[in-house]
């Protein structure tokens, strides 16, 4: 009992400590892994890493120390920070890549992909009405606009500094620029405000670039300082957006199209200019701007080299004029002159299979293809290369470094992915390793459809190893518990032996002495009483002997140090001391260690049968033999005494007890006796097979099975055997 409770306490303490350590570790990791765990954050995007940002829409990419979104998607967001941030400010340098608006989000939560699919506050600059915008998104939009009095209005590609602050339920936004250093600001008080949330970058209908993002905690003084600069104190609550802010507001006037230009379809270039390269003009949409420029129209795509044009972004509708160089599957336009006609929405990819893409039919066009990731590597100039396979067709995808590196590192080999990118069959890029290469625009072009299957070789091996380990550990634990239990039994027997020694045996001795005293004092003539007292004395002495024997039986023998046979031999020699009985003991087979439980049982049965022989059979020779076999140990006790008819006596208490003891360790018990020829008992106990490298899995399964089967019956019979 003592052992069990201390064991349980040990397990509890160990478990508690383990859980505490695990929780601590997880907490620490979460804190350390999150660079924005502290209420302060700064990222100039110069490091070229931004894995802590989460993109929702757009084509966010790091480029030249700027976070850049090339897509004209409405409401592309890039989010970071902690949902528990409350009073803080966020500021950044930003510029627009076209007509639209771009800015910062504060106290953002419940973000999803979509225009206003988040809950929080957004402040941005807008080209359409040259305004600074501040409002609240709640999967919907309420805003306060303000015409920014910046000379020349809000211009694409110009650099602005935007600061957004949230303190309690007051939100303030301010903008400065090189041309207007004093801040233009706007403030709202939102009575039912969003209390806390993360920060984000957001653009709307225009690409944008952001840099030097700084988040810092603020107090009331910071709020007052910003409010004192506020130029528009009139508006205090967000309202309905004015009609001029509609998504369909008119754009800046279009550059005049030149009607006299002969525009050709991209597909026709390949055939028309096969014989004689010449200048041609096409119109199409930009599908990739870095590292190569690709333009696509409804008939196909074209690679444009050596273009002279300011910042093009994906989705721009352009007019390209240059020298046509027809290729095998698509053409190239060299020395191109590019004019932006319109800022449009990116072309949707064509979904094809890998074998289809490998035909070359989709060369230089924007496609979406699925595949299984078979390898990944880093190519020259830090490009990231994915090797994929689909329907027996292998192909490659190339990503630009930057934000994609994070996605790249997390991609698991064997995953099923869907990729969007420009299909290129040009050997200059494919190196003839694969039939085509996919040029990805950004990390958002990789979608993991399914992780690697769990039954990969490594996983299965790891699982097998874990199962084996678990098995070994459980066998070990089971054995330890069994041993503990047995030790508790031995302890209890020892206690019982002490108890009997201290009470029963002592009392017998005392009563014996007392009877002797009475006899001593009794006059000689009381012959009858003398006889009766003599009898009583003998009875007491006999009982004393019995008690002593019981105590001896209960005492645990040091079976661990002494071996079983010599312990039994010693026991027998002690019993026959001074008598004429010859004790012969022998050992056959290769001796090996016997589990404590089995050894104890064999010893008890041996003890009992030796005692029975000497008490009842009056033998001249007592043979004790211990035989070791491959999987069992067998104990034989044989005498040449009077013997008996087994049927008459086999239900006797002693033999029944021996049989029951044997059963507790699954041992077989045999008794042979013939009157006049002696008695022989044999107990054969199974032993666990020897543990070698070749046999141990077999042993494991067998042992586990047997443990299950014997766990319950052995408990029952053990409790019986204590009585005897």
């Amino acid at each position: 009992m003592r052992i069990t409770s201390s064991m349980r306490r040990g397990v509890l303490i160990g478990g508690g400590a383990f859980i505490a350590a695990a929780v601590g570790l997880i907490g620490w990791r979460a804190f350390v892994r999150n660079p924005i765990g502290a209420h302060f954050y700064q990222d100039s995007f110069v490091r070229g890493k931004a894995e802590e940002w989460t993109a929702l829409g757009g084509t966010w990419e790091l480029m030249n120390g700027l976070m850049r979104n090339d897509s004209d998607e409405r409401g592309a967001k890039l989010i970071t920070g902690s949902p528990r941030w409350r009073n803080y400010s966020v500021e950044a340098d930003l510029s627009l890549l076209g007509q639209g608006d771009a800015g910062l989000i504060i106290r953002s939560g419940r973000e999803e992909e979509g225009v206003d699919a988040y809950s929080g506050y957004y402040a941005g600059i807008r080209t359409i009405d040259d305004s600074l915008v501040l409002g609240r998104a709640e999967h919907g939009w309420r805003e306060v606009t303000k015409k920014a009095s910046i000379p020349g209005g809000i211009q694409p590609f110009a650099r602005y500094h935007l600061k957004l602050l949230a303190y309690d339920c007051q939100i303030v936004a301010a903008i400065t620029s090189a041309s207007r250093p004093s801040p233009e600001s706007i403030a709202i008080t939102d009575p039912d405000c969003v209390p806390s949330g993360r920060v984000g970058l957001r653009s709307y209908r225009s690409g944008g670039t952001w840099s030097n993002v700084i988040v810092r905690p603020v107090d009331h003084d910071d709020l007052m300082a910003m409010l004192s600069n506020e130029t528009d104190r009139g508006v205090r609550a967000p309202g309905i957006p004015p009609p001029s802010n509609s998504a369909f507001a008119p754009l800046a006037p279009l550059p005049a199209l030149r009607p006299n230009v002969h525009v050709e379809s991209i597909e026709s270039l390949r055939l028309a200019y096969l014989a004689r390269p010449a200048e041609a003009t096409i119109r199409g949409v930009v599908i990739l701007n870095a590292p190569m420029l690709f333009v696509q129209d409804s008939t196909g795509g074209v690679y444009v080299t050596q273009h002279q044009s300011p910042a093009l972004k994906v989705g721009d509708e352009v007019e390209v004029t240059g020298m046509v160089r027809p290729g095998e599957f698509s053409s190239v336009i060299d020395n191109a002159n590019i004019r932006v006609l319109w800022e449009g929405i990116p072309v949707a990819p064509v979904a094809v299979t890998a074998p289809q893409a490998s035909t070359g039919k989709f060369d230089a066009t924007f496609i979406e293809v699925q595949g299984r990731l078979s390898a990944k590597e880093r190519g020259p100039e830090n490009t990231l290369i994915l090797d994929l396979e689909e329907a027996g067709q292998s192909f490659r995808a190339i990503m630009n470094p930057g934000r994609s590196a994070y996605v790249f590192d997390r991609l698991k080999i064997g995953s099923r992915v869907s990729l969007r990118g420009i299909c290129v069959v040009d050997p200059a890029i494919t190196n003839n390793l694969t039939p085509f290469v996919l040029l990805l625009r950004s990390s958002e072009d990789v979608n993991v459809l399914a992780g690697p299957p769990w039954w990969s070789t490594g996983h299965v091996l790891a699982m097998l190893a874990a199962i084996l380990l678990l098995g070994v550990v459980s066998v070990f634990v089971f054995q330890r518990v069994e041993n503990w239990r047995l030790r508790a039994v031995l302890d209890e027997r020892e206690r019982l032996a002490h108890e009997m020694h201290d009470t029963l045996a002592q009392s017998f001795a005392g009563i014996g002495f007392q009877l002797q005293a009475i006899r001593n004092n009794l006059p000689e003539r009381e012959a009858t009483i003398h006889q009766q007292l003599e009898l009583a004395s003998n009875l007491v002495r006999h009982s004393h002997e019995e008690a002593r024997r019981s105590i001896a039986m209960l005492r645990p023998q040091s079976l661990e140090s002494e071996d079983l046979l010599s312990a039994l031999d010693l026991h027998a020699r002690r019993l026959v001391e001074g008598g004429s009985v010859r004790v012969v003991s022998e050992k056959t087979g290769e001796a090996r260690s016997i589990p404590l439980r089995v050894a104890d049982t064999l010893f008890r049965v041996g003890q009992e049968s030796i005692a029975n022989s000497l008490r009842h059979a009056n033998p001249s020779v007592l043979k004790i033999r211990l035989q070791y076999d491959e999987n069992s140990a067998s104990l034989q006790v044989e005498d040449d005494g009077t013997g008996f008819i087994p049927e008459d006596i086999s239900q006797g208490f002693g033999i029944r007890g021996m049989r029951r003891r044997a059963q507790t360790v699954s041992a077989t018990f045999h008794l042979n006796s013939t009157p006049g020829e002696g008695t022989r008992i044999e107990v054969t106990a199974p032993l666990p097979p020897r543990l070698t490298f070749a046999t141990w899995p077999k042993f494991l399964s067998k042992y586990l099975m047997e443990s299950w089967i014997h766990a319950r019956p052995s408990k029952l019979s053990n409790s019986h055997s204590y009585r005897g």
Partner: protein, 213 residues
């Protein structure tokens, strides 16, 4: 029967069990040449009585709470009280017998022994001889055997007494230094000494080995 009837043998009985104490007192009191001068239920009480009463024979139980039989024997020896002790116990192990004889017990009896044995034992011990029943004597011998040195250990002990180091002994006996060390440890344990020097001197004192020349 020894002829000491003129002065009865004064006996003190020590046993923690009241039934035994009462029974023994009654029985021994009926013997004409015994005088049970007292009975104690523990070692401390017995010592107290021994200091004040002249006692010839002490019948001592081995297992008692507090001060046990062996402790009591050692305390008697320490106080130089003159009394001959017979261990009277109901259960015996080799170690019990060995330790009580070492502590100075003159006799060893089992509680189940018949009256005649007990009377004989008391007379024998009182006459200055030892009383050990045959099987107990055999077991005592066996226990003592266990502390006897093996032939190899004797060899090592001889060299040890001549002042050889483990390495030198190893070289002489063609065994490793570690094996020698094991032997020496075993010798130290068996002789119940604390170091090799003491082992050598004790061995010479006890006559296990002769003084090296």
């Amino acid at each position: 029967m020894p002829d000491l009837r003129s002065s009865p043998i004064r006996i003190l009985i020590v046993d923690d069990h009241p039934v035994v104490l009462a029974g023994l007192t009654s029985m021994l009191s009926t013997q004409p040449d015994f005088d049970v001068v007292g009975s104690a239920s523990g070692g401390e009480e017995a010592l107290e009585m021994l200091r004040t009463r002249t006692t010839d024979i002490l019948l001592l139980d081995l297992r008692m709470p507090g001060m046990n039989g062996v402790d009591t024997l050692l305390a008697i020896r320490a106080e130089r009280i003159h009394v001959r002790a017979i261990i009277l116990t109901s259960f015996e192990t080799d170690e019990d017998i060995y330790r009580s004889v070492q502590a100075g017990a003159q006799g060893y009896l089992l509680k189940g022994a018949p009256q005649s044995d007990m009377v004989e034992a008391i007379h024998t011990v009182h006459a200055g001889r030892r009383y050990l029943p045959r099987h107990i004597a055999a077991r005592l011998a066996e226990r003592i055997m266990r502390t006897e040195l093996t032939a190899r250990e004797l060899e090592v002990l001889h060299m040890l007494a001549r002042g050889l180091t483990n390495k030198e002994i190893g070289n002489a006996l063609l065994i490793s230094g570690n094996t020698v060390r094991n032997h020496v440890n075993s010798i130290i344990e068996k002789l119940e000494v604390s170091d090799r020097t003491e082992a050598a001197t004790t061995a010479i004192q006890r006559g296990i080995i002769e003084v090296p020349t």
